[in-house]
Amino acid sequence: MLKLDSVSRTFPGGQEALRNIALELAQGEIVAMVGGSGCGKTTLLRLVAGLDAPSTGLIELDGAELHEPSADVGIIFQEPRLLPWLSVADNIGFGIAHLPRAEREARVSRALLRIGLAGFEKRWPRELSGGQAQRVAIARALVTQPKVLLLDEPFSALDAFTRASLHEHLLALWETDRVSLLIVTHDVDEAVTLADRIVVMQPKPGRIFTEIRVDLPRPRDRRSDAFHEVSRRVLDALDGSLSEGQSKPASGVSETAAFWW
């Protein structure tokens, strides 16, 4: 469905942020992207969102080239980026202002219900907690019913409890909408909890190092051995990605693994 074909991005300063990225996302698939700081993850999402254009290469959605923001692609940033002058309800309905009023209101109130914030429609963004604000941002991106949702470290500013509850919210939304998710994260557990596939990136220039399939059934138990096994493989891959592409013998979690970011 979403297809990136030998995509590169070199910034005007000569900084090569991405080189030759090939990536495909199937309908309803969840792909997580991990990798050291500065390896081009945010740049990649901005390209797919149409906020930036690749220097070379092609990005396609269902066979049509993407070169500007599309109604079929939603994005959630690290910060909620709610508009402070709009109520929660108006923020959620921001992207569907063109729809008839009744339809808009129905979608907004359904979205509020689904993110567990029914009754919050009249609040101002400043009256929300960080987790609530990020949930509103998710609802705002989903009411337009995109085919692909991009998430750039969406929960990194939140505590572990809130994060876990948002993972459940996100998966619940995903289960009904079957939207494809491409999520960037620094949190290996988050990647293993959510993703069908984990793409490990490598810096300077940003490339794909390897991909790891996660074949665990959902809901996933973070304490299970299988879960730990996948986490360990991701950490190993991250280790490898940072040692200049040299393949290292997989020898359990090395000391640097904990500090890969």
Binding site: W85, L86, P125
Partner: protein, 277 residues
């Protein structure tokens, strides 16, 4: 008297301590003017002070009453208010237009901003002779002067507001594929509104200041005319009555502007514009 603080309406929205906490302390501020008024009253009636120079409050009240009774107050007030309104309209309109263009288009900013900044260095009253030469001594030169006074704070406020809009918020607009026009209406306007209101209030304050200057220069009606008239016939009560009228009108128009825009600023996180300060 606290003439100076009364004549200039509050132009800056200063965040103060919470209202309840200072409620009773607020009354403390009344002690001084009330004492002064009583002293004046006693002083004049006892003959220690000459009423011609220091009008007792009772005399000022009588003068004001008389002005209102005869309809004179409304004639002069209307003349002054009309000048301020027109000057404010033109000055604020130009300030908003040029400030927005200058903020949104770097090319325009490079072109006009240096000139405007240089003109700003000229004390506005210094233009008066030129304006009189150009537009004569009647309404046009007065309104131009007021407009010039209003223009600068509005231009600067709007320019600063447009320049400081968060790029991240603009990006939200791009994600939802807003057109240029929609971006202006749904993002630029609300994002700059608080600064716009602050600068309009500052501009309005200056408008009232410059109408006094314009009317002192020469006018046959207006509250500023009453000031000059009072001086020429040696009636200090008339002067103070005019001063109080200026204070009242300045205060009322500022409060009106604040009240009219308050509903649109309720989302704000601070007390500066949402709370009456």
């Amino acid at each position: 008297m606290s003439d100076t603080t009364l004549v200039h309406p509050r132009t800056e929205a200063a965040p103060g301590p919470t209202r309840r906490a200072v409620a009773w302390k607020g009354w403390l501020g009344l002690i001084l003017p009330v004492m002064l008024a009583i002293l004046l009253e006693i002083g004049v009636s006892a003959g220690w002070l000459e009423g011609r120079f220091t009008p007792p409050p009772s005399k000022i009240a009588a003068t004001l009453h008389e002005l209102v009774e005869s309809g004179e107050w409304f004639r002069h007030g209307l003349a002054t208010g009309w000048r301020v309104a027109l000057g404010f309209l033109f000055g604020a309109g130009a300030g908003i237009l040029l400030g927005t263009l200058s903020g949104a288009l770097p090319l325009i900013r490079r072109l006009i901003d240096p000139t405007i900044q240089a003109l700003r260095a000229v004390p506005s009253i210094a233009w008066v002779p030129l304006f009189i030469l150009w537009f004569g001594i009647f309404e046009t030169s007065k309104i131009t002067l007021i407009a010039v006074g209003v223009f600068f704070p509005v231009y600067l406020g709007v320019l600063g507001a447009v320049l400081s809009i968060d790029r991240k918020v603009i990006e939200v607009g791009r994600v939802f594929r807003l057109s240029k026009l929609e971006t202006g209406r749904r993002i630029l306007l609300p994002a700059t509104l608080p600064a716009l209101v602050t600068s309009l209030r500052a501009g309005l304050g200056l408008g009232w200041m410059f109408v006094v200057a314009a009317e002192i220069m020469g006018a046959s009606e207006g509250l500023g005319f009453l000031l000059v008239d009072g001086q020429q016939v040696g009636r200090s009560d008339l002067i103070v009555a005019a001063i109080l009228s200026f204070a009242l009108l300045g205060f009322l128009t500022d409060a009106l502007l604040a009240a009219a825009t308050r509903p649109y600023l309720r989302w704000r996180d601070d007390l500066s514009t949402t709370e009456k300060n």
